[in-house]
């Protein structure tokens, strides 16, 4: 794809940003809102990470050393909620805000005021959720999956419910904005199949969000009714069904998992192609693979529930459906490998993170395939094997792709190059830390250590100590990331508009840093 940018005399001084705090409170600019989302998610990442440090410190050796099990359960729950709803999802929304308009040649998002509201709902929701820390009874401690009836009798559950409702509203508004922008504001000549893969991945993600966020809202509403208004949706003593909760929750929960990985597929495709200096292998098949994964995500939810006592046919169906996902996922991995094959490759920080993503995400995929095998899952289910699995797809998966994206587009956002040496140091510390943390969790999981345990039998002590050391290494390395990003915002070698010699796409045709308003006049797409 090549683009022709028409140069116009811009009058940025007339509609530049406001000064001071009001710029951020009232902004309708997609770049400002993207920045807000990214900083918000970074703050959440550090807070959720601090909770993870607390968890790993408690698990460093058997026995209760630092906290009682109530506190431990609260940390586990809040770590999950903060990382999912405050860390990974807002980071991808931030990237979407920054990149989608620039990649499709649009001046801004379709609904800029709603965009502002979508963002500011998030800090509101998290303030409500975190305020429970200062109440009698404290923060939620029923796990991020909030299974009824444990959650229905828990203190302060109403705050949790309202926080989830507000986050859901924020996500739905953000997703509608993404869909409308992509469908209506593409530059002339940019057909759907010519769209960059990050845009494609977000179009699919946005549809998933619109489909499942209302389901989550339904689940928390029923929970609220059970807890405070005497209904019995999930209370067996009143004729309700606790398993219904799990079906509803995972009907949201499984597509949610792909919401947190599809944008990562898009990002990785861009970066691998750029640093291999070779167009992406199988652009169209990448799109079909993502669509297949998204469709399949709606029919595999009960593989999270193999032990609730389902009939044989249901167990067989969900096993087979889950195994099918390996096919499109495999296609994506093979396409990335084929893009690298016969390229001319350099290994800057974004590329290092992207390749680590491919390898470690695939390891998470392998354990996912093992978990799909129902009879074996009777052993794996709810042990640390599952913890290892989903952290492999979420940390060196989703989180590494976000870091790769930040290094890749940071010069475009700030106009400055980041410090390459520091970036590589950050990569290697993270890569080593993440593997020392999560690989041993496969071992203790197979040996039978259940998840969400504040304390454990002596046979698991050694590998838990290793895991904790790795977690501290990974956790503290992220302060280096913060330092690198802040330093780049304020100083660094000036970036060219192209930034990376192998990069392709409309965002590389505008100046670095990108002007406050881009593509007031749409570019023409040739070819």
């Amino acid at each position: 794809m090549s683009a022709v940018v028409e140069n116009h005399d811009h009058h940025d001084d007339h509609h530049g940003p406001k000064k001071g705090i009001m710029r951020w409170l009232t902004t309708t600019n997609h770049k400002d809102i993207g920045t807000l989302y990214l900083w918000f998610s970074f703050a959440a990442f550090l807070l959720g990470g601090a909770f993870a440090m607390g968890i790993r410190a408690e698990l460093f050796e058997p026995g209760l050393q630092l906290m009682d099990p109530i506190r431990y359960n609260q940390l586990v729950t809040m770590h999950g909620l903060i990382m999912i709803f405050g860390g990974v999802m807002p980071a991808f929304v931030g990237l979407a805000n920054w990149l989608i308009p620039m990649q499709i040649g649009a001046p801004d998002m379709a609904m800029p005021r709603m965009n502002n509201l979508s963002f500011w709902l998030l800090p509101t929701a998290f303030t409500i959720l975190l305020s429970t820390a200062f109440m009698e009874g404290g923060m939620p401690g029923f796990g991020w999956t909030f299974y009824a009836p444990l959650s229905t009798n828990y203190p302060n559950v109403a705050y949790f419910v309202f926080a989830i409702h507000i986050m859901g509203a924020s996500s739905i508004m953000g997703s509608i904005n993404v869909v409308v922008t992509i469908m209506n504001m593409r530059a002339p000549g940019m057909t759907l199949m010519k769209m960059p893969l990050f845009v494609w991945s977000w179009l699919i993600t946005a549809y998933l969000l619109i489909a499942v966020m209302p389901v989550l809202a339904g689940a928390v509403t029923m929970l609220l009714m059970d807890a405070y208004f005497g209904t019995s949706f999930f209370d067996a003593a009143g004729g309700g069904d606790p398993v219904l909760f799990q079906h509803v929750f995972w009907f949201f929960g499984h597509p949610e998992v792909y919401i947190m990985i599809l944008p990562a597929f898009g990002i990785t495709s861009h970066i691998i192609s750029t640093f291999s200096r070779k167009p992406l292998f199988g652009h169209a098949s990448m799109v079909y693979a993502m669509v297949s994964i998204a469709v399949l995500s709606f029919v595999v939810w009960a593989h999270h529930m193999f032990t609730v006592g389902m009939p044989l046919v249901a167990e067989l169906f969900f096993m087979w459906a889950t195994m099918l996902i390996a096919i499109p996922t495999g296609v994506k991995v093979f396409n990335w490998c084929a893009t690298i094959f016969k390229g001319s490759i350099t290994y800057e920080t974004p590329m290092l993170f992207a390749i680590a993503f491919v390898v470690l995400f695939t390891i998470g995929g392998f354990s996912g395939l093992m978990l799909a095998i129902t009879p074996a899952d009777f052993q794996y289910h709810d042990t640390y094997f599952v913890v290892a699995h989903f952290h492999y797809v979420l940390v060196p998966g989703a989180v590494f792709s976000i870091m790769a994206a930040v290094y890749y587009w940071l010069p475009k956002w700030t106009g400055n190059m980041y410090d390459e040496k520091m970036g590589r140091l950050h990569f290697w510390l993270s890569f080593i830390g993440v593997n020392i943390t999560f690989f041993p969790q496969h071992f203790v999981g197979l040996a039978g250590m259940p998840r969400r345990y504040a304390d454990y039998a002596l046979q698991f002590a050694e590998w838990n100590a290793v895991s904790s050391v790795g977690a501290f290494l990974f956790g503290f390395s992220q302060l280096l990331f913060l330092y690198i990003v802040v330093k780049t915002v304020f100083a660094g070698k000036k970036a060219t508009p192209q930034v990376w010699d192998g990069a392709d796409g409309l965002e590389w045709t505008v100046d670095s840093p990108a002007p406050y308003h881009t593509f007031d006049v749409p570019p023409k797409i040739n070819g």
């Binding site: 026995g63 009798n153 067996a236 490998c337 074996a376 071992f443």
Partner: protein
């Protein structure tokens, strides 16, 4: 010099020595002691080997390309973007591998379900409670009810909470009354819950089945090897989720019969003790012990409870002045709260002694009426309310 050399070797070998201890090598699923568990283990190993081989091939190709086509070695990149032959191949080959994995997995799964449906063997109802397991032998009558008992953690708080004494071998994997089953006999576990969802996990049998209120889930097992097997609760069930282990003692048929006989005799003895006259000293001694194992987890050793979760018993109006209501709460539980019914968990003597203990401890006897409860009070309550 030689000394230095030895020190150096010791330093180098130290990490190796760590890895030779048994726990470092405890990195795989247990083979287990039932036919099903062995089959599940084989299935697990087969899939594991398949994914490792795929991993070696794919990552091998990736790393080789990364090295071969680095920029310093390969200046001009190729331009191709598709190749239908390989794309079809890498769709079809994984599909075939998946089918090859799904077939044995489906066969094993079907076998597990057929095994569950078979007639015969003994039935044990397993009930999850916060935070203990109850076992009811449905075919074995003791007095006029099925043989039933609760299985509580016996690891003392000195080991896990205060870390004052060294942790012993079966730390957090030991209970007061293990569930006893005969070997070579099918045993059907009928699993349910009294409060929130728990999960009954015994790795050596390849059994993990959720205990859900309002549902009865079935897990069947036939143990081939006598021994003591230890497992855990695997569904987050609140604060003491990590403190409700499962211990199964698989014994020969003769030992099983002897154990049943012993249980019947014990029940007769309890009936005698209930009728006897008790002094407050005797009740206090038993009561304190029961309080520590059954009540202190929530209401705390000093009776102060945990604000927002568990009410204090020290200074509580009910505990100090309302004997009748206290008996009712212990017998019935409080619906919608975590206070469960102890009617089945404690016999009349235990119930009376623990109530007496709370009424006399922590200064409650000074500020309240100081009345004690004797086993006959509990018998009376049962007669009036059943």
């Amino acid at each position: 010099m030689a000394y230095m050399k030895n020190k150096l070797w010791a330093l180098i070998l130290y990490p190796v020595s760590l890895f030779t201890s048994a726990d470092w090598l405890d990195v795989n699923m247990p083979v287990g002691v039932t036919d099903i568990s062995k089959e599940v283990f084989d299935l697990h190993m087969a899939i594991f080997i398949v994914v490792v081989v795929i991993g070696i091939v794919v990552f091998g190709g990736l790393f080789w390309s990364m090295w071969k086509y680095r920029r310093s070695n390969h200046k001009t990149p190729a331009k191709f973007t598709e190749n239908h032959t390989v794309e079809i191949l890498w769709t079809i080959i994984p599909t075939l591998i998946l089918i090859a994995m799904a077939v044995p997995a489906s066969i094993t799964l079907k076998k597990i379900y057929e095994h569950e449906a078979e007639e015969g063997g003994i039935d044990i109802q397993v009930v999850g409670w916060q935070w203990k397991w109850q076992y009811k032998y449905l075919d074995e009558q003791v007095g006029n009810a099925p043989l039933s008992f609760f299985s509580n953690l016996t690891t003392p708080p000195d080991q896990y909470e205060f870390n004052r004494v060294e942790k012993t071998e079966n730390y957090l994997l030991e209970v007061d009354e293990p569930v006893v089953i005969p070997v070579d006999t099918p045993v059907r576990f009928l699993i349910t819950s009294n409060d929130v969802i728990h999960s009954w996990y015994m790795s050596d049998f390849a059994v993990k089945q959720d205990a859900i209120p309002g549902f009865i889930n079935v897990a069947k097992t036939k143990v081939n090897v006598p021994g003591i097997y230890r497992g855990n609760c695997t569904e987050l069930c609140g604060e003491r989720h990590a403190y409700m282990p499962i211990v199964v003692k698989a014994v020969t048929q003769e030992e099983y019969e002897a154990w049943l006989q012993e249980k019947r005799e014990l029940a007769e003895q309890v009936a005698y003790l209930t009728e006897k006259d008790w002094t407050s000293e005797e009740l206090l001694a038993t009561g304190e012990e029961i309080y520590e194992t059954r009540c202190a987890a929530c209401h705390q050793a000093n009776g102060a409870g945990i604000a927002g979760f568990y009410p204090a018993l020290a200074g509580s109006g009910v505990v100090m002045n309302d004997k009748a209501q206290q008996i009712e709460i212990l017998m019935e539980g409080i619906r919608g709260s975590q206070m469960q019914s102890f009617a089945e968990q404690l016999n009349e003597v235990e119930m009376a002694s623990v109530i007496t203990f709370t009424r006399l401890a922590w200064g409650n006897d000074k500020s309240g009426d100081g009345e004690i409860v004797i086993p006959k009070d509990i018998v009376e309550y049962k007669e009036n309310n059943l």
